[in-house]
């Protein structure tokens, strides 16, 4: 059963039957908004990039993005860059796998962001979403649909953070501007 999240909402990542999740996947999907008129079939590729920043305290320790696909500790893995999006409608175009058991003890938050690398604003993107999936059984735990139509090129989507002995996911949905995650750092910090 999936939870459709709203901005600011938090859900716990404990399993219903007790026990905590081991492996989760943060999936990201999007499609380019259709263009009308002559040459409407010309491809307009929109390259959205998903990144994950690992924080200890409020310091960024490691980042996983298309040029550094695995965090040094091996706990967070990016499945690879997708340059066009919209391959399988409803499927994930980019995914970041998190092995919660292997996250180092000092890492307390992992923030997930999306940037438009090709510079289009989210106005030209449709059906963009991020969802959290229990990787062990493929079950979707939470889905957060990005509001379309903003004049911005990036979003701080969600964060997964420690809560007690387990983990929690909080939907952030904060618009920002930037080409890669580095540009987003000032926008991320208030959410830590």
């Amino acid at each position: 059963m999936t939870v459709n999240m709203t901005k600011g909402q938090a859900i716990s990542l404990e399993k219903q039957g007790g026990g905590s999740l081991d492996q989760v996947r943060m999936g990201l999907g999007w499609q380019a908004a259709p263009r009308r008129g002559l040459f409407g079939s010309r491809t307009r590729e929109i390259d959205l990039d998903a990144s994950a920043v690992l924080f200890a305290g409020k310091q960024p320790v490691d980042v996983v993005f298309f040029r550094h696909l695995v965090s040094d500790d091996g706990s967070v893995r990016h499945t690879g860059d997708n340059l066009v999006g919209g391959v399988g409608q409803g499927g994930d175009d980019e995914a970041i796998l998190v092995d919660l058991q292997r996250v180092p003890v000092h890492i307390d938050q992992i923030v997930f962001t999306v940037n438009s690398f090709t510079g289009q604003t989210f106005q030209e993107v449709q059906n963009a979403f991020c969802r959290l999936v229990d990787e062990t059984n493929g079950q979707e735990l939470a889905r957060y649909t990005l509001d379309g139509g903003g004049q911005y090129t990036a979003q701080i989507m969600a964060k997964v953070h420690r809560a007690g002995t387990g983990w929690q996911m909080t939907a952030l949905g904060n618009p920002a501007n930037g080409r890669t995650f580095q540009d987003l750092m000032p926008a991320i910090l208030p959410h830590l």
């Binding site: 320790v61 040094d72 500790d73 091996g74 003890v105 000092h106």
Partner: protein, 621 residues
């Protein structure tokens, strides 16, 4: 569910009586030895054989047949017994085969009381051996496990027993084989007597149980002493309680066992690198946070006058210690897991990946195909130095190898004198060469040696005397020139042919084997032309099947200046002593490299080389 064990792999066993089943293509004698905690068999009374088939907890069959079934009851074994080795021997003197290589691979399985197979193992890869340790059951933290061994002995049962520490092994071997050869009817009375006489001398053999072995579990009374002292299974059976499945050798993707083990070793390498990175990152974070917090305390004027400063400092220190401790716990958890995996993987490795002390080397036979990779040494991290990751390098070698005999860089090398270091470097190079020769099919790997000054004669002796070299060791400047010219020409020819897309246009006499050139004492005996040729071979050789192994001290070639820098950089630098100069491709930790070590006094290197030489096509004719 039956576990199909590979050599070296283990599997947990229940605490109930077990049945061992043997099936061989030809009559074999089955016997069992009972070892102590060190694996030593203290005497003849610890050997269950056709002449003395029943010992407490075990009953072996008498005559040599192709099928055997016999009972082992781990619970009834004396508590001093920690290991039960199941042995198979080909009876000598009969008209049958005289080596295991000539019969179908024997198959052994361990079954429970209902006859369901728990674990099984097929003894493949045997050749001239006439006796073999098929399986061993061993005690581990109170619980019993089975391990597939498959260790054969060319010297037969006597050599096997000698290896297990039995006094007068030849005598015992004769007794065993004599008893096995006797017809069952006449043997019926004698073995019992023999068993009684050996165990009555009171050397810790225990008393004989006269109960039927398979009914023993219901009445564990005959030997009351061991029962209470054996730890309760609940405390010992850590394996089923653990949340993780037991590690298994070959647990990785791949088309063949070779590839699976290669991938598994690299998987372990990556996991160890990353787990250490997680720990170091947490530790560094804890330290920087502590520094920051201590600075804050210092900067706060109120803290200086009251006791609050001390409390704040103590709190900061406690936070630091807590985090480091938790990080260490996670690290230990991961390292234990990897160590358990290494313990299973290491004995299962084929010769190309195995340490020199691995029994696999004693069962060496020339391969039909080169393996994916070879082991050039071990790697470890300071977090747990005893956890060794094999350094597996892909074949064909993409880069030349440089065994550094210089002492300027590393701490361990600095402690040795120059001559000693040079000798070690040469020995290491010879060990690498022997392994490369052994893992290639006969005749597909040719070795040339350049030893201009002849100073490496002693070290190269194993290669020279066994006759594995393609040509005599080249001496002097003239020798250097000839060999380099020959190999350069070969690279030229092959490259031309490949570029023209006509590899079949090569001269018919050209030997298609890969070539390894060992250069000792570089740049002694080298003129400028020879140095240029060597650099050409380093760059262009690998793609044309010519590889370099340089044993050199960079200082010796200092006169050439920076001209040679690209040469040194293009080679994989290995050291004759442990040295931390290798980085992993993921995180870039400095790993301590350890060169391969031959067991002291071992003749394994020469034995293997002799076999390599014997398997050469020209020698076989």
């Amino acid at each position: 569910m039956t576990a199909e064990l590979v050599r070296g792999q283990n599997h947990p066993l229940p605490d109930t009586p077990l049945e061992i089943r043997v099936s061989a293509g030809h009559p074999v004698v089955a016997l069992a030895t009972l070892g102590d905690a060190d694996g030593r068999v203290t005497g003849a009374e610890r050997v269950a054989h056709p002449g003395a088939p029943a010992l407490p907890g075990i009953d072996v069959p008498r005559p040599a047949t192709a099928e055997h079934r016999f009972a082992v009851d781990p619970a009834a074994l004396p508590e001093t017994v920690h290991r039960v080795s199941v042995l198979l021997v080909l009876p000598p003197g009969t008209s049958g085969p005289d080596r295991f290589g000539a019969v179908a691979a024997p198959f052994v399985s361990v079954c429970d009381q209902e006859g369901r197979a728990l674990a099984e193992h097929t003894l493949t890869g045997l050749d001239r051996e006439t006796a073999v340790v098929a399986l061993e059951l061993y005690r581990r933290q109170g619980a019993w496990k089975v391990r597939a061994v498959g260790q054969g002995y060319e010297g037969g049962l006597a050599a096997l027993l000698a290896d297990q520490g039995v006094a007068r092994p030849a005598e015992l071997a004769d007794t065993v084989l004599e008893a096995a050869a006797r017809p069952p009817a006449s043997a019926a009375g004698a073995p019992r007597d023999a068993a009684r006489s050996v165990s009555q001398d009171g050397t810790g053999g225990g008393t004989i149980s006269y109960t039927h072995p398979r009914r023993r579990p219901s009445a564990p009374a005959p030997d009351p002493a061991p029962a209470p002292t054996v730890p309760a299974p609940a405390s010992g059976e850590a394996d089923p309680a653990s949340p993780y499945p037991a590690p298994v050798a070959g647990d990785a993707a791949g088309w063949s066992m070779d590839e699976r083990l290669y991938n598994q070793v690299w998987g372990m390498f990556e996991d160890l690198a990353r787990t250490a990175a997680a720990y170091r990152s947490a530790r560094d974070f804890a330290e920087s946070r502590l520094d920051q917090e201590l600075d804050q305390v210092l900067a706060d004027p109120r803290a200086r006058i009251s006791g609050a400063g001390d409390a704040a400092r103590a709190a900061a220190k406690a936070r630091h210690d807590d985090l480091v401790e938790r990080a260490r716990e996670v690290l230990d958890r991961d390292l234990d897991r990897l160590a358990a995996e290494a313990e299973v993987v290491e004995p299962a490795l084929p010769v190309a990946y195995a340490r020199w002390d691995n029994p696999a080397w004693h069962a060496y036979g020339a391969p039909d195909e080169p393996p994916m990779a070879v082991r050039l040494g071990d790697l470890h991290l300071p977090e747990r130095p005893e956890l060794r990751i094999p350094l597996l390098v892909r074949l064909p070698l993409e880069r030349g190898i440089w065994v550094d005999s210089g002492r300027d860089r590393s701490g361990a090398a600095g402690a040795l004198d120059t001559a000693e270091l040079r000798r070690l470097a040469l020995d290491t190079a010879v060990a690498h060469t022997a392994r490369l020769l052994a893992v290639h099919p006969p005749g597909r790997f040719a070795v040339h040696v350049l030893d201009p000054a002849g100073s490496g004669t002693a070290a190269f002796a194993p290669l020279v005397e066994t006759g594995v070299l393609a040509a005599p060791v080249a001496r002097g400047a003239a020798g250097v020139t000839t060999v380099l010219e020959q190999l350069t020409e070969r690279v030229d020819l092959l490259q031309m042919a490949l570029r023209a897309g006509a590899p079949d246009a090569l001269p018919p006499g050209l030997d298609t084997a890969r070539q390894l050139l060992i250069v000792h004492d570089f740049p002694h005996g080298f003129d400028d032309r020879a140095v240029t040729r060597l650099r050409y071979l380093a760059d262009e050789g690998p793609s044309a099947g010519v590889h370099l192994l340089l044993v050199a001290d960079r200082e010796d070639a200092a006169a050439y200046g920076p001209v040679l820098d690209p040469l040194w950089r293009s080679l994989l630098r290995l050291t004759p002593v442990p040295d931390d100069h290798l980085a992993d491709p993921w995180v870039g930790h400095a790993w301590t490299y350890e060169p391969p070590v031959l067991p002291p006094g071992s003749a394994v290197l020469r034995q293997v080389l002799a076999q390599v030489a014997g398997a050469r096509p020209q020698n076989r004719r």
